[in-house]
């Protein structure tokens, strides 16, 4: 409820700034309305295993970590409202609406006029760590996110806080950033340190190779405190979770003209270190230390206008924390979760896309064959995508 309330305040603030300016300019009252965009998203999914029993062996899962709903289902619709607030501020708001829940995904303001390569953002936002973390679900190249994100970052780490970014005045794209966050979302939990439970830092580099290729590489670090963080059916963790993410993305198009053909490769490695006390559901508090990790690599190729195909491989390594946790959610049972995915999608225009995807998902020892047929449609203003 609090989330919805915050959103309303933000909406009201944006609407107000628009109408005040419009009145001053003597124009129609809606001339300064913010950009409004809506993403409609729906899926038909088929699983060979019951998705209600989904888990990743050896990993406690936070956030929205299920693989989806069998049959026809409405995915998350995203309503986004963005505008320059005044010469110094830009505001963005994204509401994610599932069939049963509504969540404020983004509600932040950020500076536009600090100069010197500096940008400060405050509010709720997806952390700048990693590559995939900042991308909204509609911009993903597959229906679902990487397994390593699902297992180690609760699908996508978003939280309340402040972010500082600085772009260096050099030709090689060099950006450093730091965030100070509430610590309310997995892998953090319980808003430790009076609501300052997590911080992160990241470095990005990037550039072009000739006129056909461009790349970005990054290294990120997230330090998250968990206080009585509940996952699954009642597993509780108190301690720290530190995550390192190394990411690289490479894009190619003949002469840099992506219209006919283009290729995109991305890979990320996530390494986590968890230390503290773990209380498995129905069990007792036990000291816990483990270093789970995971990686994925994916390639997407547009072979002609409108049509793209993609391949992805996911792999996880649960670090068994010892015999004290046998038969709990942390017990890896000697299994290395992995998943292979293949997808093909068709875009009638840049505003509509249909996708067919198949996963052979071995998150659990017994493989699950997953089929997804998805549509993603964009109505109204559609903000430019980040690289």
């Amino acid at each position: 409820m609090k989330q919805v309330f915050m959103g309303t305040v933000c909406l009201a603030a944006l609407g107000l700034s628009g109408s005040v300016q419009a009145a001053g300019a003597g124009q129609a009252g809606n001339a300064f309305n913010p950009s409004i965009g809506l993403i409609l998203n729906g899926t038909y999914a088929k699983f060979s295993q019951d998705p209600a029993g989904y888990a990743i062996t050896g990993f406690p899962l936070g956030g929205e970590s299920d693989p989806g709903t069998a049959g026809f289902s409405l995915g998350e619709s995203e309503l986004s409202i963005t505008a320059n607030i005044d010469p110094n501020w830009y505001g963005a708001f994204t509401l994610a609406m599932g069939s049963e829940d509504v969540a404020v995904e983004n509600a932040y303001v950020q500076t536009t006029s600090l100069g010197h390569g500096l940008t400060v953002r405050g509010g709720r936002f997806f952390s700048g760590i990693g590559y995939l973390n900042e991308q909204h679900a509609h911009a993903w190249d597959f229906t679902d996110t990487a397994l390593a994100y699902r297992a180690l970052l609760g699908t996508q780490y978003g939280d309340d806080g402040v972010q500082l970014r600085w772009v260096a005045p050099v030709d090689l794209f060099t950006e450093v950033g730091a965030e100070w966050l509430r610590g309310d979302a997995f892998p953090a939990g319980g808003s430790a340190n009076e609501g300052r439970g997590a911080w992160s830092g990241f470095v990005h580099f990037g550039g072009d190779v000739g006129s056909s290729s461009s790349w970005r590489a990054g290294l990120s670090y997230l330090s998250a405190k968990a206080e009585a963080r509940i996952t699954g059916d009642g597993d509780s963790f108190t301690g720290t979770s530190k995550v390192i993410v190394a990411d690289v993305v490479w894009k190619w198009a003949p002469n840099g003209n992506a219209y006919n053909r283009n290729f995109k490769f991305q890979a990320e490695y996530l390494h986590s270190k968890n230390e503290g006390d773990f209380t498995p559901e129905g069990g007792s508090l036990t000291a816990y230390s483990a270093k789970p990790s995971g990686w994925y690599a994916q390639a997407v190729y547009q072979f002609m206008p409108r049509w793209r195909v993609g391949l992805r491989h996911d792999q996880l390594k649960a670090d068994s924390p010892g015999p004290a946790f046998t038969n709990t959610v942390l017990d890896s049972q000697g299994h290395s979760p992995k998943r292979n995915s293949v997808m093909i999608d068709y875009s009638n225009s840049e505003y509509s896309r249909f996708r067919l995807q198949f996963n052979r998902d071995q998150s659990l020892p017994e493989a699950d064959n997953q089929w997804f047929l998805q549509y993603i449609m964009s109505l109204g203003a559609h903000g430019a995508h980040i690289f």
Binding site: S349, A384, I386
Partner: protein, 306 residues
Amino acid sequence: MKTIGKVIAVLLIAMPLTALVIKPASAGVDVFACEPEWGALAKTLGGDLVSVYTATTAYQDPHQIQARPSLIAKLRRADLLVCTGSQLEIGWLPVLLRQAGNRRVQPGQPGNFAATEYVTMLDKPVSVDRAQGDVHPGGNPHIQTDPRNMALVAKALADRLAQIDPPHAVDYAARYKDFDAQWQTALVRWEQQAAPLRGVKVVVHHKAWSYLFAWLGIESVASLEAKPGVPPSAGHLSEVVAQLRNQPAKMVIRAAYQDGRPDEWLAEHVPIRVVVLPFTVGGSDAAADLFGLYDDTITNLLEGAK
């Protein structure tokens, strides 16, 4: 793990300091041009007083550019952003502006120059609906296909350079005067050369030539894209063929960056010439500068109309 954490912490602190030591290597006004024609114009009007970076080439579709890291790095240091505007760059420029942390080039600042603000826009839709395809509410943004627009933009850009770099205001004014004199002479020549093109019927690939056609009196009878920005489909191409059998056209025109296959297919089914125009500076060997751009455009059109 702790070591990696420390390494990142050190990087976070050390990198800004290192970058501060590296002195930005720029001579005069740093110009970030969104498209090659504006890069060429800025170079012509600024000469040695400006250092121009052009974000796209003639072989790229200016609607569909990735917000690449290299572009953020370049925009970070720019004193002046010169773009077409009218939402041509809406798919990538807003992201660059938000990420570069450069106050000088934000909308409303003197360092933000949109060429379409200085010309009369064509194809301004009365209402906009995406069912019409990728329409631009402010009008057709491809203004550079009419050289008379280039003269108007040149005046505005020279004034803007003078505003940003007042010590050299006299130099920009002089360079503009020089350019304009040559341009007016060239305009007379182009209009004489292009006289036979008046009333010639053509098919376009994308609705990118409204200004050129308005200038030279060329008549566009069909478009290979059923709606702007929607790739040509087999169904729509068959309709165009049927139309052209009744109502022939001389040539089918596309820009250097566009896929030639639909045009070639069309030429196999109806008697029509395929003409590739440079569209912007660098779109052909002959279009090496602004003068060459229109020389080559008219030469190709005359060839196609024979």
